[in-house]
Amino acid sequence: MAKLGMRRHDAAAHRAHRVLRVVGGLLALGWWSTGQAAGPPRQTPNAKIAWHGTWTGGLAAAQRMGKPIMLVSAAPQCHSVPGVW
């Protein structure tokens, strides 16, 4: 009788342990997916804007991905001296 009671106790403990593992796993998954989906992307300290260098290449990418465009244009020279915006 005592043995049977012990077995029941073990089974209940085992079930509780399994439930805890599943709940813990779901919580961890939720935390992980939130971390992946939300918030700005992590940046390196010297993060810079990544520019497409031609209109045709950039426009094709925007249309393919359905993303908005930030367009900047400038002559890469000042008073004919190159190497500066």
């Binding site: 260098g53 993303k67 908005p68």
Partner: protein, 272 residues
């Protein structure tokens, strides 16, 4: 270029949800036409243009102008590199809001490479950005395509995103202004000269490199680039002394810009 807007960390973070296109004004007639359709007061294409556009490339989402100042407020003329924090914040928040309206169709990576038009222009742009230049060089088109496939897997993610300029080349003759180039296909990492009229090979990476090793080797080579430390005025004065001159491919139609063959006006930084 207005550094304070475009180098702000929140604007940069927001830019990752945009396709960012930076053109060289007066270098391509077709691009001039596009820019003129976006912002050209009096029909004159200005030296600088700024716009946020819908993915169709034609619908403006904010007021277009010479710089972000025209849309978000701030300082024009002298002092443009010290914009008010609230203007920069407004730009970042506006971009975040626009990104929610255009979430895109897929993951962040674009697949396409952010190429410049040609090596001559790419050297100049890389110098102006104070960044290294990566040339995808292979005379054989099929090999170049294979190289581009591998590069496109790593170019839009850390640690490479935004850290270099890129251009394709298919003839050795295109490298005539580049020292240290050996005629062999590969990913050629170049330190542009201060004025972007020449370059020096920093490293050449094997053309058959696969994405993971290519990423690591590129990151290492880009880290060897030494950016110019000259201020804007020092750069311009040094350029004049050195006789460094750039001839745009199409006429400069900005009334505030230099007049080719005309009287030499007062030298000042162009208006933004």
């Amino acid at each position: 270029m207005d550094r304070s807007f475009l180098s702000d960390k929140d604007v940069i973070a927001a830019s990752r949800n945009f396709v960012c296109i930076r053109l060289a004004t007066y270098e391509n007639a077709e691009e001039n036409r596009v820019l003129s359709g976006i912002f050209a007061p009096g029909g004159n294409l200005q030296n600088t243009v700024f716009a946020l556009l819908a993915p169709n490339g034609t619908t403006p989402l904010v007021r277009a102008g010479r710089s972000p100042v025209w849309a978000f407020g701030g300082v024009r003329g002298p002092g443009i590199n010290a914009q008010p924090a609230e203007s920069i914040k407004r730009m970042a928040e506006t971009m975040q809001s626009i990104a929610l309206r255009y979430p895109g169709k897929g993951p962040g990576a674009t697949g396409a490479l952010p190429y410049l038009a040609d090596l001559r222009l790419a050297l100049n742009v890389a110098a102006a950005d104070r960044q290294p230049l990566v040339v995808v060089y292979a005379p054989d088109r099929a090999q170049r395509r294979r190289m581009e496939r591998e590069l496109s897997k790593v170019v839009w993610s850390e640690p490479l995103v935004g850290q270099a300029q890129y251009v394709a080349a298919h003839t050795a003759g295109e490298f005539k202004a580049v020292r240290g180039f050996e005629t062999r296909s590969g990913f050629i990492v170049i330190q542009p000269g201060i004025f972007g009229l020449s370059g020096q090979v920093i490293h050449a990476i094997d053309a058959d490199s696969k994405a993971p090793e290519l990423r690591d080797m590129l990151a290492g080579a880009l880290g060897r680039h030494v950016p110019s430390q000259l201020t804007y005025n020092q750069h311009r004065q040094a350029g004049v002394r050195a006789g460094a001159r750039w001839q745009s491919r199409t006429p400069n139609t900005d009334r505030g810009g230099p007049r080719r063959g005309g009287p030499r006006g007062r030298r000042r930084r162009p208006r933004r």
